[in-house]
């Protein structure tokens, strides 16, 4: 195996999907790549000065400006006639919430930048607070379950749809459990002449609470239940979709994670499980996941 462009010795948790995701992205992109990262787990686990796990040029500025910084990088590379991939790699908090304005600007200006969001569905670096990407009923430290709470009261923000609405020519969802698919999507995105966006389901052992050995299984179950459909949008139109032959019930995915434990204990939990199943069913119908 070739040497990874993300060196070992970084400080991410054992069982974290994020470094695996980054390695797959860099593996597909190759060394002729400049990475821009917002503040988050990725930044703090890979760049404690004077160390760095990055074997490609890498820049971090702030939490909410990675897409703007990447725009500036892309413009200068073009100006100097240098051909290199410019890839933003950031978590869901910076992508869907605080960095939305900056992302929107980068998308509509049409910079040739691939934006990869590793989506672990909450603010994990600060201690598992709810983000706009936190799914319905998930327990977080700011949407805790309690006597009168069943966890996060709102569904996930649909960031791929927001990217599509910006006429981003290539948008895709991917999963750490499907490495071949993820690599293919990164390569495809880098061929696009304008911006591209890939959102990768990336389980967080600390925030989701699961056994470290089950990370890939959990990510796979998200796809197999229909809760994380693997979809590509090319020029706004749904393209290739990963079919799910026999969708599994959402309970199989949820019961492996501590963040949903309350649903299996509380009297109203059953009703919530039905509503989560309805979200999966809607995805299955919308993207025709079953032939």
């Amino acid at each position: 195996m070739e040497k990874s462009l993300l060196a070992p010795g970084h400080r991410a948790c054992a069982g974290c999907a994020m470094p695996t995701t980054i390695k797959l992205v860099l593996d597909a992109a190759g060394p002729n790549t400049i990475v821009v990262s917002p503040t988050g787990c990725l930044e703090v686990t890979t760049t404690p000065f004077p160390e760095s796990a990055w074997c490609v040029p890498w820049i971090h500025s702030l939490f909410e400006n990675a897409a703007a910084v990447a725009s500036g990088v892309e413009v200068m590379l073009k100006r100097r006639c240098k051909d290199a991939n410019v890839i933003v790699i950031g978590g869901d908090g910076s992508t869907l919430d605080i960095g939305m304005g900056s992302n929107s600007g980068m998308f509509e200006r049409g910079h040739k930048v691939l934006y990869v969001c590793y989506d672990n569905e909450a603010y994990m670096n600060t201690g598992v607070q709810r983000s706009g990407s936190t799914p319905f009923c998930a327990n977080t430290t700011t949407t805790p379950s309690g006597k009168i709470s069943l966890g996060n009261p709102r569904p996930k923000k649909d960031m791929p749809a927001i990217a599509v609405a910006h006429r981003v020519p290539y948008v895709a969802t991917a999963s750490v459990a499907y490495p071949v698919d993820l690599r293919r999507k990164v390569k495809k995105a880098l061929q696009v002449s304008g911006p591209s966006y890939i959102q990768v389901n990336a389980p967080c052992i600390t925030g989701w609470t699961f056994d470290a050995g089950t990370m890939v299984e959990i990510a796979r179950l998200a796809v197999e239940t229909g809760l994380w459909p693997l979809v590509e949008w090319e020029n706004g139109v749904v393209g290739q979709v990963k079919k799910v032959t026999r969708p599994k019930p959402v309970d199989e995915y949820l019961k492996l994670q501590g963040r949903y434990r309350h649903l299996f204990k509380m009297p109203d939990g059953g009703e919530m499980l039905k509503q989560i199943q309805a979200i999966a069913d809607a995805n299955i119908a919308k993207y025709r996941l079953v032939d």
């Binding site: 060394p31 002729n32 790549t33 400049i34 821009v36 930044e43 703090v44 760049t47 404690p48 000065f49 004077p50 160390e51 760095s52 990055w54 074997c55 490609v56 040029p57 890498w58 820049i59 971090h60 500025s61 702030l62 909410e64 400006n65 703007a68 910084v69 990447a70 725009s71 500036g72 990088v73 892309e74 413009v75 200068m76 590379l77 073009k78 100006r79 100097r80 240098k82 290199a84 304005g101 900056s102 929107s104 600007g105 200006r109």
Partner: protein, 417 residues
């Protein structure tokens, strides 16, 4: 009449420069301040310009956009979603080795606040014209200097200019100072909004050839380059963070000499000089010395001339460089003053005001410490008149016999309170 301060004997608007303004009009054009500054930016040949429109900065970036659109300047101009993104884009471009420019004011500078610290911490020598304006609430689009004075601790160098010509010349100087390998510190050239951005006055525009000679191409030691991968913007824990800040602090200290030297080099090439760190007017024998920054200096000079005619020993010291704060130059320039009256267009609500606090700090441990009193005026665009200056001087005269008020709002309209 005009007497030098700081390191040299004959500073101030040198006779050469004054002559140029009054008699040698050849080569001068009557242009809008914003156009003159945009023209100066063009002569600095920035790679990337990124800006978001906000009054009264708009004309500067409109002129630059037109110059790019006309093919008169070879720069990338990015229209962005906010001031926050405007400066963030430049973080990326500067880290790739590009010379970068932006301009903003007031709310826009406030929105940039987080990025301001980041740019200085990453030692990216971006230059920005701040078209000084008040901050809301209440909303107010007119001039004061609350915006940049409020940003005094963000790690940028700050130069305040008196007129359009100085804004032009300081913009070119700013890049030379900021990009010095020993300095590598972003720089704000602060010019009073509307008063200087929208005024039409005779200006000697920069000559491109001379400007290019004066300002060599930007060649940073470290850039984002796939041939030599480096990590930019790593996080620093308690064992190293302090030393990053110290190095910035040291670079600002080194900038004191660099700013002086650059002003002198500029004079050699272009024949104009405004003082390096500070400048003075009729201050050598003055008992009462007014200390201030920005465009109000013109009014103060007129007021001083008429008060001098009445026999009052009044003078002026202009703070051209506010960050780094030129303590030694100010102590030298003010060593004979019987009282110092600081006038500024900002207020530190709950404290006093920015320049006043720095002035008091500069003199407290000095062997000479004349009494220092402070005034805020001109907030939200209110004119500061000759009458106001005379009022200030009367208060300073009274304070020489005993200070009653260390800080006050000058010409406060008590009838509407």
């Amino acid at each position: 009449m005009m007497k030098g301060v700081a390191s040299s004997a004959s500073q101030g608007q040198s006779p050469k420069a004054r002559g140029e303004k009054t008699t040698k009009t050849l080569g001068m054009k009557v242009v809008e301040g914003s156009y003159a500054v945009a023209h100066a930016v063009k002569c600095c040949r920035p790679d990337v310009i990124s800006a978001y429109p906000i009054t009264p900065q708009t004309h500067i970036v409109e002129h630059l956009s037109q110059m790019v659109a006309n093919g008169e300047m070879d720069s990338e101009f990015l229209t962005v979603d906010s001031e926050f993104s405007a400066l963030s884009v430049l973080v990326g471009s500067s880290a790739c080795g590009g010379r970068c420019y932006s301009s903003t004011t007031s709310q826009g500078l406030a929105l940039m606040y987080e990025v301001l610290y980041n740019v200085s911490g990453m030692r990216l020598p971006i230059v920005m014209n701040v078209a000084n304006r008040a901050l809301g609430a209440p909303l107010n689009i007119w001039n004061d200097q609350q915006d940049s004075i409020g940003a005094r601790d963000v790690g940028w160098l700050q130069i305040y200019v008196e007129d359009v010509q100085e804004a032009v010349d300081a913009t070119l100087q700013a890049y030379k100072i900021a990009e010095d390998p020993e300095i590598m510190t972003p720089t704000m050239v602060c010019m009073d909004g509307f008063i200087l951005t929208h005024v039409y006055e005779p200006v000697k525009l920069l000559d491109q050839e001379l400007a290019s000679e004066f300002l060599p191409p930007f060649a940073p030691r470290s850039i984002l380059d796939t041939a030599d991968p480096k990590t930019f913007g790593a996080f620093a824990d308690p064992s190293t963070y302090t030393e990053f800040r110290y190095l910035q602090f040291e670079a600002q200290n080194k900038a004191l000499a660099k700013i002086e030297r650059t002003a002198r080099e500029f004079e050699e090439t272009f024949g104009r000089f405004y003082g390096g760190l500070v400048d003075s007017y009729r201050a050598d024998d003055a008992e009462i010395v007014i200390v201030t920054l920005g465009s109000v200096i013109g009014t103060i000079k007129d007021a001083i001339d008429s008060m001098r005619a009445e026999g009052k020993k009044v003078g002026l010291v202009k703070v051209r460089c506010y960050r780094p704060f030129p303590v030694a130059a100010l102590r030298e320039a003010l060593k004979k003053a019987s009282i110092i009256a600081v006038l500024e267009k900002d207020v530190s609500i709950g404290g006093e005001a920015g320049l006043l606090a720095d002035m008091k700090a500069a003199f407290y441990n000095s062997s000479i410490h004349p009494p220092i009193i402070g005034f805020t005026a001109g907030l939200g665009g209110r004119d500061i008149t000759i009458n106001d200056i005379e009022k200030l001087v009367k208060k300073a005269e009274a304070a020489m016999k005993g200070i009653e008020s260390e800080f006050e709002f000058l010409s406060l309209r008590t009838e509407i309170l």
